[in-house]
């Protein structure tokens, strides 16, 4: 009897999973494996078909200065976007959760970047950053008499300019998650602390922030993934320049595979990206595992 139920459970479980698994395997797992396989072959071109070339593509990658550059750029980009957008999201959520004059406008303002396509707002940011008559230069020139600054055309600042746009894009989205979490925290906890004379800072660090930890984990995972995925605006703002100063790994993969038509080398770079993401996932898991208390 019990056996029968168990067997039925098996079949039901598998049947329910089947459709999702077909798609997952077709568009994630199998492509990931074929990417790995292709990275050991040469790019087919015209009448020349792909040949097995062993580790040649990897050898090329290790000796490719552009690869190392975009890799460092990407790490710097992650470091620049993740903490900033998460911290801003928390602050925004705290404000919007409070009784604030004009709260719904403020909330709407924070959320607008989520709704506007990055590809379109990138053009607006391009204007903001334009030297001379761009908005930032008009403002800094008017207020402080600063000279024109070429934010996007200078290798020192190009990536940072991209980071700012990304933080702007992400913070409002993450805010929604924090807002939901904040509203789920019982008011009684806060009141009890206030009665004991705890200040706002103490309440935040001792009560609110620890209770937000699961959200932070969730948001951080998203932020990490985004830091390797969000490249739309680069196409408009800098096209990876100057001299690859603002190119990220996925952007470079696109360039290699769909502009240079070197699909095999593109596959090799993709393998590197996958390896990097797995490393980060493992690291993140261990780091947060000790701090987050799941129910």
């Amino acid at each position: 009897m019990r056996d029968l139920k168990l067997k039925r459970d098996w079949i039901h479980g598998w049947l329910l999973l089947l459709p999702a698994l077909v798609f997952l395997f077709a568009f994630t797992h199998i492509p990931a494996v074929t990417t790995l396989i292709n990275s050991f072959f040469s790019t087919p071109r015209g009448r020349r078909s792909a040949k097995f070339i062993g580790l040649d593509n990897y050898d090329r990658m290790i000796n490719d200065p552009v690869f190392w550059k975009v890799l460092w750029n990407n790490l710097w980009f992650a470091l620049g976007t993740i903490p900033a957008s998460v911290a801003l999201a928390i602050v925004m959520a705290l404000w919007v959760n409070d009784k604030l004059a004009g709260r719904s406008f403020v909330r709407m303002a924070y959320f607008t970047p989520t709704v506007l396509p990055l590809i379109a707002v990138a053009n607006i940011w391009l204007f903001f950053y334009t030297p001379g008559f761009g908005l930032f230069d008009q403002i800094t020139g008017f207020l402080f008499g600063w000279p024109a600054s070429n934010y996007l055309g200078n290798p020192e600042t190009a990536l940072n300019a991209i980071i700012v746009v990304t933080v702007w894009k992400e913070a409002g989205f993450f805010m929604i998650f924090y807002l939901a979490a904040l509203q789920a925290i019982p008011v009684s906890l806060k009141e009890a602390a206030q009665i004991e004379g705890a200040g706002r800072w103490t309440i935040f660090w001792r009560i609110t922030f620890p209770l937000l930890m699961p959200t932070t984990l969730f948001v951080c995972v998203n932020a990490v993934i985004n830091s390797f995925r969000l490249v739309d605006h680069i196409f408009i703002l800098t096209d990876g320049g100057p001299d690859n100063a603002s190119a990220l790994l996925l952007f470079y993969i696109y360039e290699v595979a769909f502009r240079f038509w070197e699909t095999a080398y593109g596959a090799t770079l993709t393998v590197a990206l996958l390896a990097l993401l797995s490393l980060l996932a493992i690291g993140q898991f261990f780091f947060f595992d000790r701090k987050v208390h799941y129910k």
């Binding site: 071109r45 009448r47 008559f133 008499g145 024109a148 320049g241 360039e255 769909f258 240079f260």
Partner: protein, 427 residues
């Protein structure tokens, strides 16, 4: 499929009585990019419709495929997927890539006799340089452009310069630029002398400087570059000096897309940009402006740019023949004149300029002639096998010199070494 053929046949009977011709019509798919604003896509569509109306035995499906970059990507991926277009407008510089991918066929197979030979000879030689290799013609020039110098006449007047005279030489451009560069009380520049945009594809305008200095960036076979030629280094040094030594141009990478706006806003008194901008500047500049050839060093010079027609492999004989006929028609004087006036692209055949339409247009708007006259000095745009990769390397080298990370000689030497490695297999 059956149903649509049937419907087409019915429609044709009703309209023209030529049921037979229509039922056996040749179907062509034709990809085209648009790289200038305004009515370019509309004009192509209109011309195509006009042709189809005149030739009921041909159906042309004109597909707007995005930017140049998108169009070549789509043509390549569609061909690899076994569904190539029969005809496409793609950058002239992608010729070697398309040959390398084994996707295109030369026009020669469908041209015979003296008349066709004459037709090919009727195109400006500067445009044909990017269209022929190994004695065969792979591309027919269509939406072609060339960079020119635009100047703000009011700013010239203010700086005490003759508003009707543009700089003739490199040195003059620097001299003029110094007079034109204005600073406010706190020493911040409010108007630069000149603007040569360097974002995205800096190689193109830079190539103008290289040609003026007597250098050719790549050989006609597309398998050897000359990036480290001392003349190229000298040209790059001149470009870098404009910002650093002479201080007549804004430092850093200069955005291409914002350049016309900077010109309208009075941020720069002169700009280098494509003739594709003529209509835009004419409509939006709030001041009197002039258009001139790029200044000379050893010689005048400019690259050509823009797109050619290509014939794709995999088409039937009838389709290719029909495609060639269409190309002949659309590049013929009247059609080309319409196209040039709508977009600012340079009409690719000399005879176009003799049409009444063009004469009326240029009488009203003389700057349109500058581009044509400059063609005499123009050279092929940088184009090699693995073109995107090679120009990518070269762009990176230019950007690193412009932003002061490397000196011109080092940057170009490194780019040449890398290019040599890539092109070795094509020699």
């Amino acid at each position: 499929m059956l149903k649509s053929t049937f419907l087409k046949a019915v429609a044709a009977t009703a309209l023209t009585f030529s049921t037979w011709a229509s039922a056996q019509a040749v179907d062509l798919q034709f990809y085209f990019p648009v790289a200038v604003g305004g009515t370019a896509a509309e004009t192509i569509q209109e011309l195509t419709n006009e042709y189809v109306a005149q030739n009921p035995d041909v159906n042309i499906d004109a597909v707007y495929a995005g930017s140049y970059q998108d169009t070549v990507a789509k043509a390549i991926t569609a061909s690899r997927g076994g569904n190539p277009p029969q005809l496409s407008v793609i950058l002239s510089v992608d010729m070697f890539t398309l040959i390398d991918e084994d996707l295109i066929v030369p026009f020669d197979d469908y041209l015979s006799g003296d008349e066709d030979k004459k037709w090919i000879e009727g195109f400006y030689p500067a445009f044909m340089e990017n269209s022929q290799t190994g004695g065969k013609t792979y591309g027919i020039p269509f939406q072609r452009s060339t960079p020119v110098l635009y100047w703000n006449k009011e700013a010239f007047k203010e700086a005490g310069l003759d508003p009707d005279v543009a700089p003739e030489t490199w040195d003059e451009m620097v001299d003029f630029g110094k007079k034109l560069t204005k600073k406010d009380a706190s020493g911040n520049v409010t108007q630069w002398g000149v603007r040569i945009p360097s974002s995205g594809f800096p190689y193109w305008l830079f190539q103008g400087l290289a040609i003026q200095n007597g250098a050719i960036l790549a050989n006609a076979d597309g398998n050897k570059t000359n990036f480290d030629d001392p003349k190229v280094v000298e040209a790059l040094q001149y470009l870098v000096d404009l910002s650093t030594k002479d201080e007549v141009m804004a430092p850093g990478i200069i955005e291409w897309g914002a350049t016309p706006k900077a010109f309208f806003e009075g941020q720069t008194a002169m700009m280098w940009t494509s003739t594709g901008n003529l209509t835009n500047v004419r409509n939006n500049a709030p001041f009197d402006f002039g258009v001139a050839m790029l200044p000379a060093k050893e010689t005048r010079g400019a690259p050509t740019g823009g797109g050619n027609f290509y014939l794709f492999k995999g088409a039937s004989d009838e389709q290719s023949k029909a495609a060639v006929e269409f190309v002949k028609w659309i590049t013929a004087p009247e059609q080309a004149a319409k196209w040039t006036i709508a977009t600012g692209y340079v009409a690719p055949r000399a005879e176009t300029w003799d049409t009444e339409t063009m004469k009326a247009y240029t009488a009203d708007f003389a700057p349109a002639l500058v581009a044509r006259d400059q063609l005499e000095f123009a050279k092929a745009e940088l184009s090699t096998f693995q073109n995107q990769r090679i120009t990518g390397l070269f762009n990176d080298a230019l950007a690193s010199a412009i932003t002061g990370q490397k000196d011109p000689a080092t940057a170009l030497k490194e780019a040449q070494e890398q290019a040599d490695k890539i092109l070795a297999e094509y020699r």
